[in-house]
């Protein structure tokens, strides 16, 4: 057996993490000398916390939370790769509502997860909309309010919701990426503690190499693995096969980078730092460590 490495994911098993599943099934982590434990995420799972307690060695995290943990709480996290170049965070609405820009949200009701509220408000501000110009209500994973018109828009990943709304209500849905409306940042950032980075460099490099290989395999054969995993990795996760296929395909453009999956080039890092600045989180380049990517 290889050296044990615990990987804390950020959500339950769905196509968002298919690259890792492929790498596990193909034995690519083992080939790198790693005995990988994959830990799914969920609403109660705070990946950064798993790093802090040592439950996980490596985790997928979100930018703002990780950065503020570093600057405000003194955590020693390093972001060593970005699964999503562009975060799937979006404002999603029915096409029939005619919402095409953030400005169009004025006078509307928007359901936003409390966790994204701060970021969403910054997004509004950047687009010249003030909080009192619209009504914000909590959103809890459920597309029904949007489909039934209880709300005009929701803040969520665009990886499955637009498809599902269309499937269930027959109404076309469209989305606006935060990334495209003044708040560019990545998502599912591969994060480790400084200590792990120092002590387990070889395993981390191996992890990244195998994971990239997994994602490349997915990109080379879209649909293939989503279908294959319907009854293994995805079993019981509630997705319809069609929704899973949609998800698998729609996310890839947000991930791809000429320098390979997980790449973090300087321009991208600057954009992320600028976003952090806009939401009021102090951070600098040292939050990111590109040396692992360089070794792949």
């Amino acid at each position: 057996a290889g050296s044990p490495l615990a990987f804390q994911s950020i959500w339950i098993n769905d196509p968002e993490f298919i690259g890792y599943f492929i790498a596990i099934d193909k034995g690519w982590y083992t080939e790198e000398g790693i005995d990988l434990t994959y830990i799914p995420g969920g609403p109660d799972v705070i990946p950064q916390a798993a790093l802090l307690t040592g439950k996980a060695d490596i985790a997928l995290t979100s930018l703002i939370e990780t950065a503020s943990a570093v600057s405000e709480k003194g955590a020693t996290f390093k972001i060593i790769g970005a699964q999503f170049q562009k975060s799937p965070d979006s404002v999603i609405s029915l096409e029939q509502s005619g919402i095409k820009t953030i400005k169009d949200l004025v006078g509307k009701t928007v359901a936003c997860p409390p966790l994204s509220l701060g970021t969403f408000k910054v997004l509004l501000g950047l687009n010249g909309v003030t909080e009192d110009q619209l009504k914000i209500v909590p959103y809890a994973f459920d597309p029904t309010p949007l489909a039934t018109g209880q709300v005009d828009a929701v803040v969520d990943f665009m990886t499955s919701l637009p498809f599902i709304v269309e499937q269930t209500s027959g109404k076309k849905a469209s989305y606006m990426l935060f990334y495209d409306f003044g708040l560019p940042f990545g998502q599912d950032l591969v994060t480790v503690s400084e200590e792990t980075l120092k002590n387990r460099r070889k395993d981390i490099v191996g992890f990244m190499r195998a994971s990239r290989k997994g994602w490349n395999e997915e990109i080379a054969h879209p649909d293939k693995y989503v279908k294959e995993y319907e009854n293994t990795w995805f079993k019981g996760n509630g997705y319809t096969p069609e929704a899973a296929l949609f998800h698998g395909k729609v996310q890839l453009p947000l991930m791809e980078n000429p320098n390979g999956i997980f790449a973090m080039d300087d321009a991208w890092i600057d954009k992320n730092l600028a976003t952090l600045d806009k939401v009021g989180v102090k951070a600098d380049k040292s939050l990111f460590d590109t040396s692992i990517l360089a070794e792949l």
Binding site: I12, D44, V45, L52, L117, P138, F141, V165, G236
Partner: protein, 516 residues
């Protein structure tokens, strides 16, 4: 005598069928019905399609609930035995007890996930939800002893040991089963909540989480109803022995002195010392836990750091303001929810006396509502109550009424025959039985119920704030968690626990006043 029961059952059956038919029509032919309130046939059809998944998830939830229940209830019964024998220990542990129960799931869930592996986070969550109600009911039962019997045991030189062995244990059985009836659905609720949060792959909670974004209300309702069914089965399992026991456990004649559940108050200095211990103990355990587990203080600050967070430094004022503001929104609603929930529980318990058929008809509905995973009912709650105070109160009522109902009902069923005969002989109907006998007889149960659900009300409102209204303490804790602001989470938990303790003690104070 037999015919009316047949007729009553027929009426219940008829009522159920009518309700189902109305549901079917609404679910199939209204637009919001189709979207949020699917018809029973559609739910069944979806469940049939999903049958394999139901088996997988259902078994996981069943296993988790059963383990959680078994652990929670075992600890509860043991603790109740100890507390009954040593009332001082109960007083000293009161802070810990209430803390365990009042700890917001939003706080405890992520912690359990961090420290426990496999199914244990959800098992422990289920056990935690079970412990306090089961302990309270068992303790109530153990303490309630017919004074005549206590005299008899004393006269034969029997001490507390003999009284416990021969009288308290057997006498407590009906209340113990009442505790189990509260606990069984709570174990399922805890398991589902745990599965929902912990990232586990199996269990109705996980099924629900993954089904939520899929816009398939028939599946959501199916999952909710299936989880309710497990809870209902647990409830029913402990109803049957309880029925038989109650009949043989209440005294035939009325003792001149009402059996009381209140332990004799010891010396007041001792009480004061023990109360201080009660307050200090949770902090000591907190401190020890944090110190011994070497968790990063970012996630688990000790009591010192948390208190400092609220009183020292430049962010303290802001933190206090945020907390204060959130509490201002949460507390009035929690108080309202508590009163409304108790009132509802009382009405339902009263109906078991006033209109047993109606109560029996309502019971399954109430049980299903109580056990529907809250996340699953959110869309309908929003539809019916909007996103304001009404929703929060409703959610609080939902979590409050059931334990209160079971305890009250237990009190009502323990009325000695002689007392009800007296009312009947003067032509007094059910209403008079309720007002003049059942209620005064059950005062200790009423107060036990109020004490038990006071922390629950706060939790219910916090869940509503988290999922529905986006204000108040529930929202503050949720948002803080996202920002990894564990200082605020612990501070919020601390404050909400202190409030729960205050509510618990407040009810106790009123009880002592009334009993003089």
């Amino acid at each position: 005598m037999k015919a009316p029961i047949y007729r009553e059952n027929a009426r219940i059956l008829f009522g159920t069928l009518v309700a189902l038919a109305v549901w079917e029509l609404l679910g199939a032919y209204t637009s919001w019905g189709v979207a949020m309130f699917p018809a029973p046939t559609r739910i069944l059809a979806q469940a049939f399609v999903d049958r394999e998944l139901y088996a997988l998830h259902g078994l996981a939830t069943l296993k988790t609930s059963v383990f959680g229940f078994a652990i929670g209830v075992s600890v509860a019964v043991l603790a109740a035995l100890v507390f009954c024998r040593l009332p001082g220990v109960e007083l000293a542990f009161r802070g810990v007890n209430i803390t365990l129960f009042a700890m917001p799931a939003i706080v405890i869930g992520p912690l359990l996930v961090l420290f426990l592996k496999g199914d244990w986070p959800q098992i422990v969550l289920a056990a935690l939800m079970v412990y306090f109600p089961a302990m309270s009911a068992t303790l109530l039962g153990l303490r309630t002893v017919d004074p005549r019997i206590a005299d008899l045991v004393a006269a034969y030189g029997g001490g507390e040991g003999a009284l416990m062995r021969h009288v308290r244990l057997r006498g407590a059985l009906p209340d113990l089963f009442a505790g189990f009836r509260v606990a069984a659905p709570l174990a399922v609720l805890g398991a589902v909540l745990g599965e929902f949060g912990s990232g586990t792959r199996w269990g109705f909670g996980a099924f629900l989480l993954s089904a939520l974004p899929q816009g398939n209300p028939a599946r959501l309702w199916g999952i909710g109803l299936a989880a309710s069914a497990i809870a209902l089965a647990g409830y029913a399992l402990f109803l049957l022995p309880a029925r038989r026991l109650s009949a043989s456990s209440s005294a035939v004649t009325l003792a001149a002195v009402q059996p009381s559940a209140r332990p004799k108050g010891g010396a007041s200095t001792r009480r004061i010392v023990l109360t201080l211990v009660a307050v200090a103990l949770p902090f000591v355990i907190w401190w020890l836990g944090v110190t011994l587990s070497h968790v990063s203080p970012i996630i688990a600050p000790g009591p010192g750091r948390t208190v400092m967070f609220l009183i020292e430094g430049k962010q303290a004022a802001a933190a206090r303001a945020a907390l204060g503001h959130a509490l201002g929104e949460t507390l009035p609603i929690a108080a309202l929810g508590l009163l409304a929930g108790l009132a509802f529980a009382f009405v339902l318990a009263a109906l078991t006396l006033l209109a047993p058929a109606l109560a029996r008809g309502l019971m399954p509905v109430a049980l299903v509502a109580q056990n529907m995973p809250l996340v699953a009912v959110v869309p309908v709650v929003v539809l019916v109550f909007g996103r304001g105070t009404a929703s929060s109160v409703f959610m609080a009522v939902l979590v409050v009424f059931f334990p209160a109902y079971v305890l009250l009902h237990q009190g009502f069923t323990s009325v000695p025959r002689a007392a009800s005969d007296l009312v009947a002989a003067y032509g007094g109907g059910r209403w008079k039985q309720l007002v003049h006998i059942a209620v005064p007889w059950s005062v200790s149960y009423l107060f036990a119920a109020a004490r038990l659900v006071a922390p629950q009300a706060l939790l219910g409102v916090m869940v509503a704030e988290w999922l529905v209204t986006g204000v108040g303490l529930g929202n503050l804790l949720n948002v803080s968690r996202g920002g990894l602001n564990y200082d605020m989470i612990w501070a919020g938990a601390l404050v909400s626990i202190l409030i729960s303790v205050a509510a618990y003690e407040g009810v106790g104070l009123i009880e002592r006043r009334i009993a003089r």
